[in-house]
Amino acid sequence: METARKLRVAFVARPEQAARRLQDSDRRMWDPDEELVGRIGSGDRLAAAELVRRHLPKMVGLARRMLGDQAEAEDVAQEVFLRVWRHAANWRPGQAKFETWMHRVAMNLCLDRLRRQGRNAGEVSHEAPDPKASATRSLDEKQRRQRVSDALLGLPERQRAAVVLCYYQERTNIEAAELLGVSVEAVESLLARARRSLKTALSAERADLLDGLETG
């Protein structure tokens, strides 16, 4: 009501400017974090705590799947929130969702770490599962999760990034393309190749993994 009244008044006083502002606001996407980021920009620590609660699991999840290490993932997540705190005052809403920006920061930090450590496709420290062993005994929940995690870490960096963003972080194909600096068609192709590789990597245990889902 209040906003509508202000807009009406603005149309009387400055019709062209108000019309432009209305078009801009229509074009702008709704960002659930915008208000919170504004408060963080003014130094509101409660808002910072709320943003951490809202996004920390996703940031840790992204980094853990990219790096394969929980401790490193937590370091990355902390660095993301430090940057949020430092840059919130300069955040310009309307260009991209704040969460997308956080994903960009987290993904870049992960890729930097992987490159610094010279780790890349398939260079995973985890041992590959022994198909014979898994055929003779059923896997517990932790092992099943580890198998999937290992298969993910066996993917080339960009394929892994596409899977992490689209499957686990719930980014759209357009957001993933933007974050990876590629076209939406390229994202589709990365995902298709990644999915094929994951199926191959998990084929020996597929039945066991599905059994676990039904019984667990």
């Binding site: 009244r5 202000k6 008044v9 603005a10 009387v12 006083a13 920009g41 003014s42 130094g43 620590r45 910072a48 705590a49 951490v52 609660r53 920390l56 699991p57 996703k58 840790v60 999840g61 799947r65 937590e74 997540a77 902390q78 929130f81 430090l82 705190w85 430092r86 005052a89 099943r144 999760r145 198998r147 999937v148 995690s149 993910l152 689209c166 499957y167 686990y168 719930e170 759209t172 194909n173 357009i174 939406v184 994202v187 589709e188 192709s189 995902l191 298709a192 999915r195 094929r196 994951l198 199926k199 998990l202 597929r206 993994l209 599905l210 676990g212 889902l213």
Partner: protein, 149 residues
């Protein structure tokens, strides 16, 4: 069958995004839903198989973050507080400029309202506009100025 979706495209998207249609490109979701609803059994079987694989991938679910980690992150945020002080100074500097600009704009606007009103009476629309532009106290200041005149 949904419009704009054929079996080849459906299979392409299924191979990339898996069975969860909400992950598919937004522009093609509705068409894909329509296509799937009336798809042959063979296609539905393939979709079911991909859905099972999605469930396997979902085994690597994100664990909820611990309160300890939340506290650790927030304590690091607190350690970076000196950066905020610099920003507060910037904000104060900006506010000073805004105040100067605001005072100038207010005097121009008051002049406009006084000079432009043909009936020498303040309409409620003008009062509302004043309040919206310069805050709720502005109309009172304006009225006082007029009365004193």
């Amino acid at each position: 069958m949904g419009t704009g979706m054929n079996e080849a495209r459906f299979m392409e998207l299924l191979a990339s995004f898996g069975a969860e249609l909400s992950r598919w490109p937004e522009a093609e979701q509705e068409a894909a839903e329509g296509f799937l609803a009336s798809a042959p059994h063979r296609t539905k079987d393939i979709w079911e198989s991909e859905r099972a694989f999605d469930r396997i991938l979902a085994l690597d679910a994100a664990a909820p973050s611990s309160l300890f980690l939340e506290a650790k992150v927030l304590s690091r945020v607190r350690l970076s507080a000196p950066r905020r002080l610099a920003s507060v100074r910037q904000v104060l500097a900006q506010r000073t400029q805004w105040l100067a600009g605001g005072a100038l704009a207010a005097s121009v606007a008051v002049g406009f309202f006084v000079g432009y009103n043909p009936s020498d009476r303040i309409t409620s629309t003008q009062m509302t506009a004043m309040e919206d532009l310069f805050g709720s106290a502005s109309s009172e200041v304006f009225l006082t100025a007029l009365t004193e005149e």
